[in-house]
Symmetry: C2
Subunit: 228 residues, 2 copies
């Protein structure tokens, strides 16, 4: 019996994008349901009481397993489809990957997404009025600090958690890519980060993200350019 998978996601949600990249890298086939999470569709809330994306539904014969929230899905995928291994090969690598997952899920999310994406994307999707320039400026400053940190790591390392591609790279790329959709990543000032992002962007797992478009939210011209 093969497992059938359906991912409920919002294309411009960094958490959903982490899962799409992991599924793509592991060459796991899945159906997609694009969710407008802010509309609180009852079917989505029934699957995940928090009402948030991503949610992975696996059916295997008559059995259904619902896995909610990005970290739960990523840990689950490492358990059920261990190859290629993306968390890390030993305790130290896994600790470093998970530290960086938390970094992007919380610190980056609070400091950058909570300001920049909220102003540029959520306010439009939810009809909350015009963006606040002060918030956008604060978000862009925080973004530069985070890019600086990634730049520093990448001058010492091949990939974010060390010598091998991991979920840490996908977490970072998922977050940067949504900001990049709106043209707000100052790549030219961060050459090592830019080279790293070019490598991730060129991977087959990234292709579906480059075709994402959302009504009313057009991406910048270079968004899907592999030689940006």
């Amino acid at each position: 019996m093969t497992v059938e998978r359906t991912l409920h996601h919002f294309p411009l949600d960094p958490a959903s994008r982490q899962v799409r990249l992991a599924l793509g890298e592991k060459r796991v086939a899945f159906h997609e349901v694009a969710e407008r999470y802010w509309e609180r569709r009852p079917e989505l809330t029934r699957l995940n009481p928090s009402g948030m994306t991503p949610v992975l539904v696996e059916t295997d014969g008559g059995k259904t397993l619902v896995v909610c929230e990005s970290r739960a899905i990523l840990e689950h995928l490492e358990e059920v489809t261990p190859e290629p291994e993306l968390m890390g090969r030993d305790l130290a690598e896994r600790a470093e990957t998970r530290r960086l997952l938390q970094w992007f899920d919380r610190k980056f999310d609070y400091e950058v997404n909570g300001l920049l994406l909220h102003e540029k994307m959520e306010k439009r999707l939810l009809g909350l009025g015009a963006p606040d320039p002060a918030n956008m400026r604060a978000g862009r400053e925080a973004l530069r600090a985070h890019l600086g940190y990634v730049e520093k790591l990448l001058t010492e390392r091949d990939w974010l958690n060390g010598r091998r591609l991991s979920l840490a790279d996908f977490a970072a790329a998922a977050n940067f890519s949504v900001i990049d959709y709106f043209g707000d990543v100052p790549w030219t000032d961060f050459p090592a980060a830019r080279t790293w992002y070019t490598k991730i962007k060129s991977r087959p797992c990234f292709r579906p993200l480059l075709t994402d478009r959302w009504p009313g939210l057009a991406p910048v011209a270079h968004y899907d350019d592999l030689d940006f």
Copy 2:
């Protein structure tokens, strides 16, 4: 060679408390360093670039492993000290535990801690002035909604993720216990949650949390009362 462990934590940090409960339940001995994370002690930032607690440092002979952030530490402990198992015995249990970890780490943290603990605790620790009554009111309302959700789960289940104690219970109890330190949990309106909390509070792993006191922040009278 035995592994020596040191936990850098802040006693009233819900994320740190999750780890202390897990270590206690697994009967893993550890040294403690109480951190005032808001003072950005260089040694803490060197261990964890985010500057946040908790951080677990393991030394085994000459080898040192640093594990930063609560989720990373909890997943790590399940790998290195699997008994008693606290994540869940099968994929469905683990998915449910991790869903609830995310619920408390993000949703509860945003909606309750970000308002109520920020106003009642952080502002005092960081010298940010008087609490804002509107924020406290909004935080208390959100707290009631979360208690209602826990109450609903506990009328259907013995423990939060199902039939066995798990990290989901520790995540919930860690968060509620810090609010409870300040006397803000309306237990009487949520009888199933109250019974569940009494059970957790009576466990040996919880004892160290009941003796926590922080200068300038006195707990309410019933805080360490097992029959509250």
